[in-house]
């Protein structure tokens, strides 16, 4: 009895260490690093005047219900901090900037189009994909509506059409994929009247951002948010104050999929751990049966 109990525990321990310990053997990951093909947008929140024209342009480009420009002119909205909704892919909020006390600074938010997106890694059916040009796109046809992408997103970006009874979709900024694949700029960048939004390759934008910080060191907080955060994002920010005083979340540099995918691939490394467990259990099943027979059936 004692011996068998020990056997039982030993096997459970072996099985689980096979499952978990394998995680050290992290294998191929879904996420690609930026090899220069990723496009991006540099959001210069110091230059932003809070005109909200980008919100309007986004509405015109991406929503079925086109709203008038007048609907986006109110400055009342800056009294509260807003978030994206299923029919609003971007919103502009304000933040306090002590370097320019007479004026507020503004922060446009939308999907960051991560280099190594957690949502893409999470998606059970591959409905979310990372394109060569950096855009994170959504295919509603594949989606089963589990909303795991919303759980996974470190920026809390994807929204869901909960009100839609039959065909709800995950909604978020598309990076105007249909425009950028033709070499055009996203609608919000196109309309921006100030040098608040700049569209280009990520590499060029990082250079541009550093040169701006260098040129006016007293205007900018010397950090490009999104260059390295959470593995880097296509949309990057320059802020007047430390970014943690704005609504941008404090995130580690390690991309999220690295953690889960290394566990995942550890468990499924060429199916060896599951097959090993199968074989081990089979062996135990066979050997204990033999014992039972030789001892004449009942052994307890």
């Amino acid at each position: 009895m004692e011996k068998k109990r020990r056997e039982f525990l030993k096997v459970i321990a072996a099985g689980t260490s096979g499952l978990i310990g394998g995680s050290a053997l992290a294998s191929e990951s879904s996420s690609k690093k930026d090899t220069g093909s990723y496009l991006g947008v540099l959001v210069d929140t110091v230059n932003c005047i809070g005109c909200r024209k980008c919100e309007w342009a986004c509405n015109q480009e991406n929503q079925e219900e086109k709203l008038e420009l007048a609907k986006f002119e109110s400055k009342e909205v800056f009294k509260t901090s807003r978030r994206m909704e299923s029919d609003k892919f971007t919103v502009v909020n304000s933040y306090d900037n002590p370097k320019a006390p007479e004026e507020k600074s503004f922060l446009k938010v939308q999907c960051m189009h991560c280099n190594e997106p957690a949502c893409v890694s999470a998606c059970i059916v591959g409905a979310l994909t990372k394109s060569e040009n950096g855009a994170v796109s959504y295919d509603a046809w594949k989606c089963i509506g589990c909303r795991y992408c919303i759980v996974a997103c470190p920026f809390q970006v994807p929204t869901y059409e909960y009100h839609d009874v039959l065909t709800p979709e995950v909604k978020k900024c598309t990076f105007c994929y249909h425009l950028i694949k033709e070499g055009k700029a996203p609608a919000c960048v196109e309309i921006c009247p100030e040098e608040a939004l700049t569209f280009g390759t990520r590499k060029d934008l990082i250079e541009l951002a550093y040169s701006r910080i260098k040129k006016s060191p007293d205007k900018y907080y010397p950090y490009i948010y999104g260059e390295k955060d959470i593995g880097g994002t296509s949309w990057m920010y320059l802020t007047g104050v430390n970014y943690n005083k704005t609504q941008l979340p404090e995130l580690p540099e390690r991309p999220i999929p690295e953690i889960t995918e290394s566990i995942q691939h550890g468990i499924f490394k060429s199916f060896i751990p599951p097959l090993a467990l199968y074989g081990l259990l089979g062996l135990i099943m066979y050997s204990t049966k033999e014992k039972e027979n030789s001892e004449g059936g009942e052994n307890e």
Partner: protein, 419 residues
Amino acid sequence: MNKLKHHEHPEQMKVKYFSFGTKILTVIAGLGMTAFIYRFFVGLDVATNLDNQYPWGIWIAIDVASGVALAAGGFTTAALAEIFHREKYHSIIRPALLTAMLGYTFVAIGLLADLGRYYNIWHPMMPNMWSGNSVLFEVGICVMIYLTVLYIEFLPIVVERFKSKVNLPSLLAILNKPIELFLKIADKTLGRVTFIFIIAGVVLSCLHQSSLGTLMVIAPTKMHPLWYSPWSPLLFLLSAISVGFPMVIFESILASRSFKIKPEKKVLSSIAKYTPIILSVYFIIKVLDLIYRDALHYIWEGSLSSYSFSVEMLIGVIIPTIMLLNNKIRNNINGLFIAASMVIFGVVLNRINVYLVAYNPLYEIETYFPSVIEIAVTIGLISTLILVYRFVVIVFPVISIDGETKKKMENKNQFGIIK
């Protein structure tokens, strides 16, 4: 598994289907079913309190995550009795198997309510949509295959009950022959290959029970440090294993009361010996993990998370471990029942903690609390599961009765709905 041992007498329960409790459950199940159907007419916005910050609620934390954990009796019992050949536990295989089968079936039904595009639930099976990097994909595939395995494992019981007895009324009589043929083929083939499915069931269970723990690892910045751990998969697997036997004990005692049969105290007390061992291993790994991640001090944080964590560990792990190490308590039906209930409570609370309490989204508007419809659906599903369980153990020989009780029952001459 379909070879019956001499000391085992799985019987059909000879009771009337509707007792007082059954009637109450039927009403609750009816309300739950109404809420379930209502959700499909009004959508998630009206039916639930979910929003863009809290995309997952109790339908995931309880119906799915806890449901899968509580169905662990199936694979733990199969491992003990059929792989390690502990023959004296043979009598609990069938009830545990039935619980697992129904448990997973209701996980799938519950999931339908939660999915925005429930009609696409089959998508993960399509090779062109396979997503090897997704933890959820692994959970989904394993659960789908395991559910099939469970039905195959249950088939011998159907064969035993209905082989050469298939007799459907009137119009359905056309199906008599095909079903009879199917049962005959199943009878001839299954005996030789059951072991493949038994082992597969255990492996699949280990895989997805642990992966359910990996799920929330994808949100490192949103999870409370008391539960955020890369070791979460191991902890989930261990807690699933630990709750397997308590679930068998809990159900067995409830069933014995409901069907007025003697509980198999010997078997239950004996199987309860494993629980404190597994719980202790779980506890040690949990504490080491907290120390290693320097998160132990969050226990004194004074937040909902810290209180919930303390309750989870005290009631779900520490107290039942001490109770079950005590021979007196373990050999007492009430003691067993209370300790088993505590372990079950602890695991359910753990799943709720990991999926809801520990999850702190950015830009929270309103803290999530389930809506009336969400609660009604969850309670309704649990009630329906119990009702179906009762039906199955009346129709099929699942629960074992010792010889003495059997004689008594025959003498009492009770009427069953099925002879």
